[in-house]
């Protein structure tokens, strides 16, 4: 295999990172920039700090290997099928099917566990991660982070949500009455 191309990226606070091209391709934004021909210089990431970027790269690395392993198995399968004729295929497939199933199960388990550990983060990190995922356009990461934030909201009253996220209640009493009225339906 040819040695993978390395991309250099600079975060908003001036630090530079060298990352394999395949890894940064998980980000739609960076992928587009590279495809637009920015891949040879240093790619600036004005909305991402050096504090959060390694965390994002961790996600990308995890998922690029997943994509690749998926691709590999499906390619391999196809080749096998091409070679085998129909009669022998049935007998052969029965065995790997079970194994694949178990393998798949273990892989899903492992990924779940990884996600739990990965998402065991404090609010500051979660906030940075949401912003970075949004800017870098990494859909899976954005979903995961939004889900994490959602889990911190579910079942809470507005006051509790404000406490959780340190949000100032900027409604006037009149406005708040209006808000209360327009949302009353959801509680009935």
């Amino acid at each position: 295999m040819a040695s993978p191309k390395v991309i250099v990226l600079r975060t908003c606070d001036g630090e530079t990172f060298e990352v394999d091209e395949s890894v940064v391709y998980v980000s739609e934004t960076i992928k587009n920039m590279i495809e637009d021909g920015c891949g040879d210089g240093v790619i600036p990431l004005p909305n991402v700090s050096s504090k959060i970027f390694p965390k994002v790269i961790e996600y990308c690395k995890k998922h690029v290997s997943d994509f690749e392993s998926l691709k590999k198995t499906s390619n391999g399968d196809e080749k096998e099928k091409d070679k085998d004729d129909d009669s022998s295929k049935k007998g052969k497939e029965a065995v790997p099917d079970v194994e694949e199933d178990a393998e798949e199960k273990a892989r899903v388990e492992e990924l779940k566990e990884w996600e739990t550990t990965y998402m065991d983060i404090d609010q500051q990190v979660l906030f940075d991660l949401l912003q970075a995922a949004n800017y870098l356009n990494i859909k899976g990461l954005l979903l995961m982070a939004a889900e994490k934030a959602a889990s911190m909201i579910r079942g809470k009253t507005p006051e509790q949500i404000r406490e959780t996220f340190n949000i100032k209640n900027d409604f006037t009493p009149e406005e708040y009455e209006e808000v209360r009225r327009e949302n009353a339906w959801a509680f009935e």
């Binding site: 404090d122 800017y135 340190n166």
Partner: protein, 920 residues
């Protein structure tokens, strides 16, 4: 007493503190002090916040939007308001008006009931394209006409699956006039759809593609032939169709691709006609058509490329042949099709329609549960449901999940779940699919999936699979839902999973106990009893385990359950709450819950009240709870003070024909109360003796054993003893003593008889008029002789002459040990005697009757045998009263029978053993 209560109070009052705790509970690593100020969450990009909103249900969205101006504005973004599902919300005109400003771009709407139907015009969603309404029984022509007039852009209108009883052809005509863009119309249970209405649709709605007139009474089949634009037609379950003309006319519909005639009386000739004459038809679905099934041998699933889907055909195979090159394994036909990108539009359209009619039909068939479909469900019905719950159409997913919950229950009354059906769902991977569904953020799906899991988990093997697939934590999460229906089914799932010992620990670990207790606090007066009964039932099962019962108490369960026992009016809830309290109080030795229940204000009074319930189950569980509670001395007296003696005697008096569980618990509660002599006198005075004798005559071991225990306690009092004789208790006890299968019953009956005839009763029996006294004492004498004979036989049944002689001859401990082992009654170790009782046996050792001497020694042997739960306590009592001397005398007496001597020696040996233990 109210540690738990106070803590709960703190949660509702001291908001700030609890919030801070909750918050650090979610994020362990938060270093809040230095960072809290820095992050401004309202500065998140808009689309990120909108993404966050989409992860939440309506309640949480409303709460989030109520925090600040920025998020209120984002919460009103039109992209969050394209689809609205109001089924779980009260929807009146005021509600609809308050939503209007956000609904300008609304495209799709679901709701239920006539009130909502009248209100939705206030949403002013003129661009609405799809309306789907459930519970349409009360929707009138006027309502439907207004609905159509206000939504001219309507493309899809669906009312059902329950009947639209008040809708007539007039409203259908109005719909056709107002909604020229209509593509899809599905109506269920309309009485009469006449030719005028159908012709109006044909004339005015030129884009009409699909018609469903399901479960209707009369439909003009000839006029349906004028709907030349339609691709799909369903008349499933509709009656009075003239099939010969219908098949003739419909086979000429030029664009008809799919036709559903399920659950009708279509004949095989009509089916053949349709399949052979129609040019365009691709699929004919005829599930559960009895006439066709009788003549089925003539028809295969594939007729010149046209498919017949019927119970007797392989539906998967048929579908796979419709979509060639899609799959190798035709069981995957649905998922393969869904995963296929760029399928042509026609195939997609057919797939969507098929999914819908199949899910709808299968659910209806499951609801009616007709005979003779077992093999269909096992071979393909279950697999079809599992394919359909993976559909991309939400209502298909919902129907299929409801179908899974329905088809496994074969007897609604007794909630009997068909074992084979449940297991075939499990084998086909259904548990994981349902759990995934339960994790979705749509509440209606959550509740249907949870219901399916709940019903399937009645089967123990499925329950195990649910636990293994991580279902317990999912159900525990759902039990915390703010939606009552979701929480109810989740609690039901936990109830079924908590049967048996396997999963109790896991439920507690997943926070299930707390979630269940919180449910009770959340809906203490909910409109229905379902959620409370399920929560209390699950807690009852959990409380049967020692560790979990601690968890229940920690979570505030004692208070919650007592609250239900005190104030809930539903019998099912009362029963489960009483059972839960019984189980909580069943761990007297290992934790303090027994005392805690008794100390909860009003608990004992409520349980005493419940023993008078109309409902047998409630009476039984309440008596069981009082039985368990009476093990604690303070509770016992509190029960008596609350009128428990009277109530329980009355219960025992009225349970002659009751189920054995109730009989056992009634006797048991009286047994428990009679531990104190004052109570036992009160029981005798209230008339408790005679019902207990009746229960002692029961053939059921658990019942007569418990009754024997109660009578034994009662007989301690001479007045009661006389009562027992007078009520004919001697023959009953003699019978138990000689022939019960239970050693305990025989033992306690013998002890009761020993109390009755050790001489104390005679003293009061002879008081009274002299003439009566004589005859009384004569009959007493007869009873006494019979009793003693049987006590003797009982004691002898534990003594083998051979080993006795060896033991008598030798002083080696091994010989004694052998006798002791042969005589030992394992369960007797649970009995606890008071000082007075032990004293009574000691004095019996000096009784003139050698039989009573032997019996007393035998009893003391049981009560002091090392390893018995209360052996130390009894040994202490014996030593304090100087019984050692009496025992030595009995062991050495020349005149005493050999049994008495040997048993007394064993008691002395036991005492030495305990002495040694104590001095260690």
């Amino acid at each position: 007493m109210s540690r738990r209560v106070r803590r709960k109070g703190a949660q509702s009052k001291g908001k700030e503190r609890t919030i801070a705790q909750g918050y650090s509970g979610i994020d362990d690593g938060i270093s809040s002090s230095d960072r809290d100020g820095e992050v401004d969450w309202t500065s998140l990009p808009d689309d990120t916040v909108i993404q966050l909103f989409t992860c939440l249900n309506y309640r949480d969205r409303a709460n989030l939007a109520s925090t600040c101006r920025t998020w209120r504005a984002l919460g009103s973004s039109p992209c969050l308001w394209k689809f609205l599902d109001l089924r779980n919300h009260k929807c009146d005109a005021a509600t609809a008006s308050s939503l209007a400003s956000r609904c300008s771009k609304l495209q799709k709407l679901r709701f239920r009931g006539a009130e909502a139907a009248n209100a939705i015009m206030n949403l002013q969603a003129r661009g609405l394209r799809e309306i789907h309404c459930d519970f349409c029984r009360d929707i009138t022509d006027a309502t439907l006409s207004v609905m159509a007039a206000r939504h001219e852009a309507l493309e899809s209108l669906q009312l059902g699956p329950d009947s639209c009883e008040r809708i007539s052809s007039d409203a259908i005509k109005a719909v056709s006039l107002c909604c020229p863009k209509l593509k899809k119309l599905r109506l269920s249970g309309v009485r009469d759809i006449d030719g005028d209405a159908i012709n109006a649709l044909a004339k005015n709605c030129g884009q009409l593609v699909e018609i469903g007139f399901m479960d209707c009474v009369n439909v003009d089949e000839l006029a349906l032939g004028n709907l030349v634009t339609i691709h799909f037609l369903s008349v499933a379950g509709t009656r009075n169709i003239k099939w010969s003309s219908a098949s003739q006319i419909w086979s000429k519909l030029p664009n008809l691709i799919g036709l559903d005639v399920g659950r009708t009386d279509i004949s095989s000739s009509a089916v053949s006609k349709l399949l052979s004459s129609s040019q365009s038809l691709k699929v004919l679905s005829a599930l559960n058509c009895s006439l066709l099934e009788e003549e089925s041998n003539h028809i295969s699933y594939n007729y010149k490329g046209k498919l017949l889907l019927a119970i007797f055909n392989d539906i998967f195979k048929a579908l796979a042949s419709l979509f060639p090159d899609v799959t190798n394994d035709y069981r995957n036909v649905f998922s393969d099709l869904r995963n296929l990108k760029n399928v042509n539009k026609n195939l997609n359209e057919i797939l969507s329609w098929l999914e819908w009619i199949l899910s709808h039909s299968l659910l209806r068939i499951a609801e009616c549960n007709p005979q003779g479909l077992d093999s269909f469900w096992l071979r393909q019905g279950a697999a079809l449901f599992l394919n359909l719950i993976q559909s991309l159409q939400e209502d298909v997913q919902e129907s299929a999940a409801t179908g899974l919950a329905t088809f496994v229950v074969v007897d609604d009354e007794n909630v009997t779940v068909h074992c084979g059906r449940a297991e075939v769902v499990m084998q086909d991977g259904g548990i994981r699919l349902l759990l995934n569904l339960a994790k979705s953020c749509r509440e209606s799906l959550q509740s249907e999936a949870a219901k399916a899991i709940e019903n399937l988990s009645v089967n123990a093997r499925v329950a195990k699979a649910v636990a293994e697939e991580g279902g317990i934590s999912i159900l525990a999460d759902l039990a915390r839902s703010t939606n009552r229906l979701v929480a109810e089914e989740a609690a039901g799932g936990l109830w079924n999973l908590s049967v048996g010992d396997e999963h109790k620990g896991a439920i507690a670990e997943a926070g299930g106990v707390k979630a269940l207790v919180d449910l009770i606090f959340k809906w203490p007066n909910s409109g229905g009893d379902g959620v409370l009964e399920r929560a209390a039932g699950a807690l009852a099962n959990l409380a049967a385990d020692d560790k979990c019962s601690m968890e229940v108490a920690r979570a505030g369960g004692v208070h919650a359950l007592v609250m239900l026992a005190r104030s809930c009016k539903f019998e099912g809830v009362q029963e489960q709450a009483a059972r839960a309290l019984a189980n909580l109080a069943a761990h007297g030795d290992s934790n303090s819950n027994n005392a805690a229940v008794g100390q909860e204000a009003g608990a004992i009074e409520a349980l005493v009240q419940l023993t008078c319930s109309q409902n047998e189950g409630v009476r039984q569980e309440a008596a069981g709870a009082l039985w368990n509670l009476s093990f604690d001395d303070r509770n016992r007296e509190a029960i008596a003070a609350a009128g428990g003696v009277e109530a329980l005697v009355a219960l025992a008096q009225n349970c002659a024909n009751a189920p054995q569980g109730l009989q056992e618990r009634a006797a048991g509660a009286l047994w428990g109360l009679s531990v104190s002599e004052a109570n036992s006198i009160a029981i005798g005075r209230e008339g408790g003796v005679s019902p207990l004798i009746a229960l002692a005559r029961s053939d059921v071991e658990d019942v007569h054993e418990t009754a024997a225990g109660a009578l034994w306690n009662l007989a301690f009092n001479a007045g009661n003893a006389l009562h027992i004789v007078e009520e004919g208790g001697v023959p009953a006890l003699v019978h138990l003593c000689s022939s019960s299968e239970s050693k305990m019953a025989r033992f306690m009956a013998a002890l009761a008889l020993a109390y009755m005839f050790d001489g104390r009763m005679d003293e009061i029996a002879l008081i009274g008029s002299s003439s009566e006294g004589v005859s009384k004492s004569v009959s007493l004498d007869v009873d006494r002789r019979v009793a003693l004979k049987h006590i003797e036989a009982f004691v002898l049944s534990f003594s083998d002459p051979q080993t006795f002689h060896t033991a008598a001859a030798s002083s080696a401990p091994a010989a004694l040990a052998q006798v002791a082992e042969a005589a030992h009654i394992q369960e007797a170790g649970h009995l606890r005697c008071s000082g007075a009782e032990i004293g009574r046996f000691v004095s019996m050792l000096r009784n003139s009757s050698s039989i009573l001497k032997a019996c007393a020694a035998f009893a003391l042997l049981q009560f002091t045998i090392p390893g018995g739960r209360h052996a130390m306590h009894h040994a202490g009592l014996l030593q304090n009263t100087g019984a050692t001397r009496v025992l030595r005398a009995a062991a050495a007496a020349a005149t005493a029978p050999i049994e008495a001597k040997i048993f007394a020696r064993i008691v002395l040996r036991n005492l030495e053993h305990h002495n040694g233990e104590a001095s260690l």
